[in-house]
């Protein structure tokens, strides 16, 4: 990120924090809206005692692990759905029925299945990341320029080679975009999943400090989620630049 970009971010943040501060003066209850100063203090305290970092790391690792697991299944399946009528007909109905169900809707059932621990948030985030990846990959694979496939066929490539050498690289930008959507959705699911189903992580910490009526600390963890969400998205955009430099022409950043 260039210095100019950093300044723009800082300026936006400063305006936001200022508005927040004014708002906190107007809202009488510190429980409803603590001032940014109180939240900064909570950030400092939880930061210093390692609580913030520990929980953030746990949530981040869970998110990345479930993203990778979801991609390992959704991407190959999406490629098949995008390129094969048969697979599409087979999977379309169940996918379209499961997709609208929010991951967190499975929490009660998952509690019976997995109990409290790593497995429940992993499952919920896997579920949440799975469908954006599947649908995005399938759409990307279906939209590959026919002429490119024709060109590869005239060079004597077999079906599997064409999949590997043409379909996958051509669909890669679409796959990476769907990964960004999947990560954003996973962050929204992580809180809910850890809120009930985990003994640690950012969602757990939020719920814990809520029960302690410590709103500034709750806000500190919320801010942390926002920052991590931003950073993971930034990371994925950076990855797109490295993996698909050829597809970056129209990108502003």
């Amino acid at each position: 990120m260039r210095l100019g970009g950093v300044l723009v971010y800082l300026r936006t943040m400063a305006l936001f924090v200022l508005a927040w501060y004014v708002g906190s003066l107007l809202v009488p209850s510190k429980l409803l809206l603590p001032s940014p100063l109180a939240v900064a203090a909570a950030l400092r305290d939880t930061g210093l005692n390692g609580e913030l970092f520990g929980n953030a790391l746990i949530s981040l690792v869970r998110l990345l692990a479930s993203l990778l697991a979801a991609a390992a299944i959704a991407v190959p399946l999406g490629l098949l759905m995008g390129r094969s009528r048969l697979w599409n007909d087979l999977l379309e109905l169940p996918v379209e029925m499961l997709r609208p169900i929010a991951g967190i809707a499975w929490i009660p059932l998952a509690l019976y299945l997995f109990g409290i621990g790593h497995r429940l948030p992993l499952f919920i985030m896997f579920y949440t990341a799975f469908f954006p990846l599947l649908v995005g990959t399938a759409a990307g694979a279906a939209a590959v320029d026919k002429r490119l496939i024709a060109a590869a066929r005239t060079m004597g490539l077999s079906g599997p080679s064409i999949m590997r050498r043409v379909i996958v690289p051509a669909a890669l930008p679409a796959i990476l975009v769907s990964a960004r959507l999947a990560v954003a959705a996973s962050w929204t699911a992580v809180v809910a999943a850890e809120l009930v189903g985990a003994p640690n992580g950012l969602g757990y910490a939020i719920e814990y400090y809520r029960s302690m009526l410590s709103t500034p600390t709750v806000m500190a963890f919320i801010v942390t989620i926002g920052v991590l969400g931003f950073l993971t998205d930034k990371g994925l955009r950076q990855l797109s630049k490295v993996l698909t430099p050829w597809a970056q022409t129209g990108a502003a950043r």
Partner: protein, 266 residues
């Protein structure tokens, strides 16, 4: 003359029942022949080429290669597409080496030989120094030369080319015409030449390169006439300046003039 390399027998192609792109086209393409196809825009040239490539099924008629029906694409028939069909995620080098690395064309070549051929082909089309550029970083003419190099690098037995030099400036075009004749094998005996089907809009180009020029007429696309180009080989700048050359160009122009005007006025 021996049996034809490729035979089109009463080939028709229509799209969606209504658009008749090609109608009852019969044509023999000889082994080692350089055949040019000219005709007004929309007369079905690309459609014929796609059928030869095995990418489009025929609506009726038969099309054979060495006596066997063409049922799909094959690496012995290399294609250069009118819109280039370059792989946007591969650099110039990545595009040119594609067929050699992933297709059967590179079998029997050592990695060193492969690299050498890729380098030589890129140099031949005048793209030295642009190896690592992506297609979107190239001009239209440069992209066309990448497509040309990609076809040439695989050295297919039959070259199917759809307006391969159309986007080039006049000088580059002349150079690559000469180069194309060399690759085709104009200095070799007729039996050792490749077979080329070359679509072009430029009559002078067709006359300069080809053994025969097939003139198509449009709506529906039919074979209007085949003209033998008996200019002596090897051909070069002297050919371009000769009176016979001008006369042949003139007679083909007269064949298609009326239709070209009609197509333009529509």
């Amino acid at each position: 003359m021996s049996a034809p390399k490729i035979r089109l027998d009463c080939v028709s192609k229509s799209f969606g029942g209504s658009v008749v792109a090609v109608e009852k086209l019969s044509l023999d393409i000889r082994d080692g022949e350089f055949l040019a196809i000219v005709g007004p825009s929309g007369c079905g040239k690309t459609t014929v080429l796609n059928m030869l490539a095995g990418l489009e099924p025929l609506t009726s008629g038969t099309m054979t290669l060495n006596g066997k029906p063409i049922e799909g694409p094959g690496a012995e028939r290399g294609v250069m597409f009118q819109d280039y069909a370059l792989f946007p995620w591969r650099t110039v080098r990545g595009n040119v080496e594609f067929g050699l690395v992933y297709g059967p064309a590179g079998q029997g070549l050592s990695p060193a030989e492969r690299t050498e051929r890729v380098e030589r082909t890129i140099e031949m089309v005048g793209l030295k120094g642009s190896h690592e550029k992506y297609p979107h970083q190239l001009s239209g003419g440069m992209r066309q030369r990448v497509a040309l190099a990609r076809l040439m690098a695989s050295e297919p037995e039959i070259l199917l080319m759809d307006e391969p030099l159309a986007a080039l400036d006049a000088q580059t075009r002349v150079i690559l015409q000469d180069e194309l004749l060399r690759i085709w094998g104009q200095d070799r005996p007729a039996t050792e030449r490749r077979t080329v089907v070359f679509i072009t809009h430029a009559i002078d180009e067709a006359v300069f390169l080809a053994d025969r020029v097939a003139v198509l007429s449009s709506h529906p696309g039919r074979l209007k006439q085949i003209i033998d180009i008996d200019l002596p080989r090897p051909r070069g700048d002297a050919t371009r300046r000769s009176g016979d050359f001008a006369r042949l160009c003139q007679s083909i122009w007269e064949l298609i003039r009326e239709e070209a005007y009609r197509a333009t006025m529509n």
